[in-house]
Subunit: 347 residues, 2 copies
């Protein structure tokens, strides 16, 4: 099996390096790694954030382990050359439409959340975010109004097939967990959301065992602070999912801890930590590699059929934390490499 | 001076009734009240959520005190007949483009926030939300794709004038406070946001004393949980402002406490609590009227030139809380009327 390693920018290379060590230590037969440039790093070397070789490798691979993209040097570039276009391009080109983000507080890290411990300890949810549509991929541009003013515009839309396939992922995820699904939209204002809600309700007929509820996005943002323990699975569109999943992650403690999977309709996936490239601490050995290591565990489970090894990795992370492994974001002083070694030892 | 009272749906009438008592107790010369139906209540009586008489009263009045709209009985109505259209219509028809939402923890209520007291106590910010544009008011609808699928769409857009006038409100608000303005957008994905950012940067030249920063909306949702004390004034568009201001309010404790003002380019404004119609507790005397009473204080200050009376009302609310006034949302058992009376006594 071929794993594409795309370290990207900022702290990406550091966290990917430690994760590769963990994967190699599992001594899984015939696991091959191939690395390629992506994001600002690729732009600087080749003039494009997602060069053809990188896209080709991503297509050939069985799974993709992704670091992070984002580089302040590239802020002034035209949109299609910016690092972020690489991750958007991979999601779209590979049809990775389903983003799964589990958010759960590690009991060892109860102190890291800004929420009261009794609130934070209740968090155990998965956010299912659509990744291939919405205002992210609609027609967009700058134009001049009739009276000569500059105007920016972006078209938001979803069609019924797009909603149905992500709704099914939401229902399936709920079936495998607490059987509660909350669909988040803004149907009181947006037609895109009205279609979303209609289709989610239609799809619910296929899943009579799941308790479905609907929530407006503004209320969801409040409820994630007030009582995040009420959620089992949330399903939502690309834009609302971007906002709510980052918020939920932060409620669950350090953003350095949380993994994500972006899946196509077969078993292929791109796995990445939810944190970004953190240019301010890049190259200093301060990054927490656990979110990427936990993303690799998701990869073992969803794309590589190695559920047992996935659980081994997750257990090793928990043991390393229990033994006191703490990077700066967790209030400690261990380096990226020492964190990786703590997990290796626990394995 | 004429105040339009628009109680609306759910708990709206109950909280408006107590607020009117407080306003009357101030014995301000020549303060007149006129009441009209709005939202689901107006639809049920007249067939329209914003009847012409109501719009006319709102136009004639010097300020509008608004309860809440939203009624589950109306969920199946066509969009243009739903209660929410009343508030959207008032904002648009009256040119109320600037929504100001202060979020601050009342020290007496430190226990009501889901955030740790040491995090919540730092909150003292104003969110400035644009209310007349964005994906809320663009062309929208349902259509059929070339291959016969249902599709919902909404056009998001801002032009430079719309951004400039709300940016100025943001800068002015910051000038009157801590001189820090954070503009929130999603410029790494949206052209609407790119124009937003460009124009905010241009406008900054008029306010050299304000420290301007930019933040992506997903990061802002995280930072509002991690360290809300970092913010002084946030300025953002209609959709992101809807989400972030509700989130920030919840961080600051009970949503039953927080007022808002929606202002035009003169001094006219619509004042409303940020909570909704809460149909589940409507008519039971359980609603907390303090957010509406504090909204009336904002009205006295911004639209009626009675800053002193505004401060009196705010001080009375603080004293009532200090004396132990607590409605159910604050962990107590006082009724809406008892809460109103506690403020009257403190006056
Ligand atoms: C980098 C950016 C384009 C991206 C997004 O908005 O999807 C990121 O925030 C994410 O959530 O993966
Ligand atoms: C009722 C609804 C249309 C409204 C909005 O989204 O603006 C509300 O959520 C608000 O924030 O005032």
């Amino acid at each position: 099996m071929l794993i594409a390693l795309l370290p990207g920018d900022g702290i990406g290379p550091e966290v990917i390096a430690q994760t590769r060590r963990v994967l190699e230590a599992l001594s899984i037969d015939s696991l091959d790694f191939e690395e390629a440039l992506v994001g600002g790093a690729a732009y600087k070397a080749t003039g494009h954030p997602l060069p053809p070789e990188t896209l080709d490798l991503a297509k050939r691979a069985d799974a993709i382990l992704f670091g992070a993209v984002g580089d302040p040097d590239c802020d002034a570039l035209e949109r299609h050359l910016r690092p972020e276009q690489a991750i958007l391009g991979l999601r779209k080109e590979l049809g990775l439409f389903a983003n799964l983000r589990p958010a759960k507080l590690f009991p060892e890290l109860a102190d890291a959340s800004a929420l009261r411990p009794e609130v934070a300890s209740q968090i155990d949810m998965v956010i299912v975010r659509e990744l291939n549509g919405d205002v992210y991929f609609g027609e967009k541009g700058m134009r001049t109004t009739a009276d000569g003013k500059r105007e920016g515009y972006d078209i938001m839309s979803y069609n019924e097939d797009e909603v149905r396939r992500i709704a099914r992922v939401g229902f399936e995820t709920a079936m495998a967990r607490g059987k509660k699904l909350c669909s988040v939209d803004k149907a009181n204002v947006l037609e895109t959301s009205q279609l979303w809600r209609d289709v989610v309700i239609e799809t619910a007929k296929e899943y009579p065992d799941v308790a479905l509820s609907h929530m407006y996005v503004d209320n969801a943002a409040m409820q994630l602070v007030r009582n995040p323990g009420q959620f089992d699975v949330i399903v939502t569109g690309n834009l609302f999912g971007d906002i709510l999943s980052d918020q939920a992650s932060m409620c669950a403690g350090s953003i350095g801890m949380l993994p994500s999977a972006s899946l196509d309709n077969a078993k292929k996936g791109l796995y990445e930590p939810i944190h970004g490239s953190a240019p301010d601490i890049a190259g200093q050995g301060k990054a927490n590699p656990l979110a990427t290591i936990l993303s690799a565990a998701m990869m073992l489970r969803y794309s590589l059929d190695h559920a047992q090894e996935a659980s081994r990795v997750e257990a090793a992370v928990a043991r390393a934390l229990a033994a006191g492994a703490r990077s700066p974001d967790l209030g400690g002083s261990m380096s990226t490499q020492q964190m990786g070694e703590a997990v290796l030892e626990a394995l």
